[in-house]
Amino acid sequence: MTLETEPVVLNMGPQHPSTHGVFRMRVTFDGEVIVDFEPVFGYLHRGIEKLGEHKTYLQNMPYTDRLDYLASMSNNMAYAMAVEKLAGIEVPERAEYLRVIMAELMRLSSHLVGVGALFNDMGAFMTPFIYMYREREKILDLFDMVCGQRLTYNYMRFGGVSQDIPEEFMPTLKRFIDEMPGYIDEYDQLLAENEIVLARSKGVGILPADKAINASVSGPVLRGSGVKWDLRKNNPYSIYDRFDFEIPTGKVGDVYDRYRVRVEEMRQSVRIVRQAMEQLPEGEVRTRVPTPFKPPPGEAYVPIEAPKGELGFYLVSDGSAKPYRFKIRAPSFINLTVLRDLVLGWKLADAIIIFGSIDICMGEVDR
């Protein structure tokens, strides 16, 4: 009698705590080793690109909040910049500074969730996550002050931001920015050299630099592979050329490097916010745009460095009040291109942290 073996197919998700939203992975195992992997998308597809063609330019702003809902400010900024390029609108200096402050706070907040969730996946269930939510909460309070919302901000407008910051914002922000480096040190004390973390993440899910570039990967995943590429430096949009900061990179491109890049980026974001606070000028926060707002026919692609990578809006205008085409280059979606190659040959528990280290947001993947 001969013993026969066959591969086992396992469905992970779409409802599963480790899939960071409604993402499904169809994983084929030989014993415990992954031999085939297929990501299944679309459970959160709301057709935002199609909706965008049926709404006016300004009506689309709240929809951008719902792309990567952990980084709504960045989405607002990218969309506002794309429309400004299309219509040739200038932004007042104070508004540029406010945008940068919000975008960098958003990066801090998004990386806190990303790193916290990664440790959740690694088995440090909820403790690091809640530590990081403690600081995220303070950032959300700051956003609440400027626009009255904690998740979907709808704060930026074409030609600036919707309103100036209230009086109590700056003192609160200063207190937070003074405290934040200490908190990051605290995470590092607890986690960076932790033996379990090292054993689980070092050398796991290695993404070589040439492959990362070839697969259009961007953001911390690309930099974790050692590619020094950050649109804030390589294509200094807004006023990023006025700030002094570094681009952290990894060496080997494993899960650990991607985690470290995010932590170092948090430190750099604190630096940028501090400089922006010092330089913040007085003045208008919004230029008037003509109403009804109809950009001239043409097209514009504007990318920014969002927390998860290169977020770009490609807009085509036919001269009417609604975009003719409203295309979103979503970093989370394109970063998932490499997931299959990264997880093949690993076990399921490794696949989960490799997936966690890419740090996706399903609102942006499915759109």
Binding site: K211, A215, S216, V227, N235, Y301, I334, T337, D366, R367
Partner: protein, 154 residues
Amino acid sequence: MIKTLAGAEVARQIGEQLPDTVTGSDETTVFVRSEAILDVARFLKESLDFDYLVSITAVDFLDHFDVIYHLRSMKNNYSVVLRTKCADRQSPSVPSVVSLWQGADLQEREVYDLMGISFEGHPNMKRIVLWEGYKGHPLRKDFILDVPGGGKAT
């Protein structure tokens, strides 16, 4: 700053190597014939160092589709836009560039799913965000939204 290469200059270089592929150019963009897209893309990648495919997208202009490739060179920090027309509305198709840039994989599937342009030579050309059996392609301008169980293309 990422430098935007002049479309005319890139078009000239492509034209020298691959005659009869370029149909026009403007400040940022090179227009090429759709059958030649893979050859032109290979030339841009290998000779002009366009190592990074930023995005692939398509726009429906009713009498034709435009497929748009945003390309960038990380090595030299410059960018160009490659654009091609696809006039066949019944079964539009352009060659896939996934053999050059892996980053085209999911993006081409997305264009196929939502715009209905298929990419010849893609190893896994099927729907990505909508389900198998869905009728029509929602991002087309003549798509009608209100049919239960999926849309309807006219």
